[in-house]
Symmetry: C2
Subunit: 244 residues, 2 copies
Amino acid sequence: MPSDVPTRRPPGYDPRDHPPFAVTVDLVVLTVRDDVLQVLLVRRGEEPFAGCAALPGGFVRPGEDLAEAAARELAEETGLHAAPAHLEQLASYGRPGRDPRMRVVSVAHLVLAPGLAEPHPGGDAAGARFVAASEVLAGAPALAFDHAGILRDGVERARAKLEYSALGTAFCADEFTVADLRAVYQAVWGVPLDPRNFHRKVTGTPGLLTPTGGSTARGGGRPAALYRRGPAAQLWPPILRPAS
Amino acid sequence: MPSDVPTRRPPGYDPRDHPPFAVTVDLVVLTVRDDVLQVLLVRRGEEPFAGCAALPGGFVRPGEDLAEAAARELAEETGLHAAPAHLEQLASYGRPGRDPRMRVVSVAHLVLAPGLAEPHPGGDAAGARFVAASEVLAGAPALAFDHAGILRDGVERARAKLEYSALGTAFCADEFTVADLRAVYQAVWGVPLDPRNFHRKVTGTPGLLTPTGGSTARGGGRPAALYRRGPAAQLWPPILRPAS
DNA sequence: CCAAAAGTGTTTGATTTACACCCATGG
DNA sequence: CCATGGGTGTAAATCAAACACTTTTGG
């Protein structure tokens, strides 16, 4: 079908070739709180979708790279100042009509943050809060634009990367126990994991954990050794696999 | 550092918030020919980088979705009409200054095509040809813009996905033998694989191959059974792993 | 018959799984 | 002492690598 299109002209500066696009970044910020995978949502203050829940995000500014814009929006909209444990580009969404105002291409980013992080909405968003991802995926608070699809892709990416990378530790605070890390995997995958085998596996993976020497005692039970994120040189073979 | 910026204003339609961007798609088209992983390059006809090698690509048009634009550019610039075996979004690149003319965000796509495909350059590109990926990665023909980095990301993605998906078959023609598929894996990974174990593994993976019943004899040796791409329902566990 | 490539069987070692068991603390 | 969770040992099952061997063609 492209052969009978009369517009096969050389690429140049004809405005028909590069119509004005707006470029935004949207953020899928995930954390694990109370043993549940949660996603950061804001309440939109303006049309379209005013009052509706949405992923945090905003326009990319003239001098900014995409990742830079994502980091700025994260700080601006949520007050999560501490460097997030992990920020990576997710995918871009540019379906015509996804924003009723104009042609917008959104470059979505995935952020994994420790559960401690408490958002206090900055200037832009009327409200920012963590909500259980499972509920949002089920449609509980409906999301603006095509953010439901973006969230789905982000959760899927997180689940997949946990399997063959050291990213699970990105959900943990600076110091954490093996049980903390196991809670992360269980929350993200939604499956129970054997504590004994989990312990052996993560402590036996070179580069994943760095022991701090300290230990902690929470409630009854033997104190657990504390660890920090390791250099995680070795990604393969898979760290762990969700239950068969 | 974002806290002392005096521009924390609500997002709206202030043109400073959404300056004009151009949005393009760039294509990393990979194939396996003569047991070597190759990438499709075009020669740029215009400034900037006139005469320089580059990845095929072009501007996204007003009514088009991103994947649509990628498919159109593929057909226009290379004449590869047959539906490619696989097309997926790779990543977006928007560093300020990556295009000297204006602010351009490029949404790169990854295309895996059978080795048969012979490009005959369409209207736009002055020339299109397949070049060994290893040479381009080494800098042999220097690429325009930041296309070297995009290519690196594309090859890395292809290598990774071959391991845990059925994508290897995307490089094969409609009907192919197990040896053809093995040649693909060896070319992409650059490692030799045991023919016996490879055979057992791929024929034993449900959904990967559909036997056609036919067989082929090339040169001396026992004829090989022919297969078609299967539904590939099961992606995990990893199909294969590059040599340890 | 011989060479060459396709395909099967078998052996060996690594990895995963399941679970018995010991360790260290609070109450 | 006992409950609770942290951590180690071990045996069975599963999987992967190496390779001997059989099958089916062309010359």
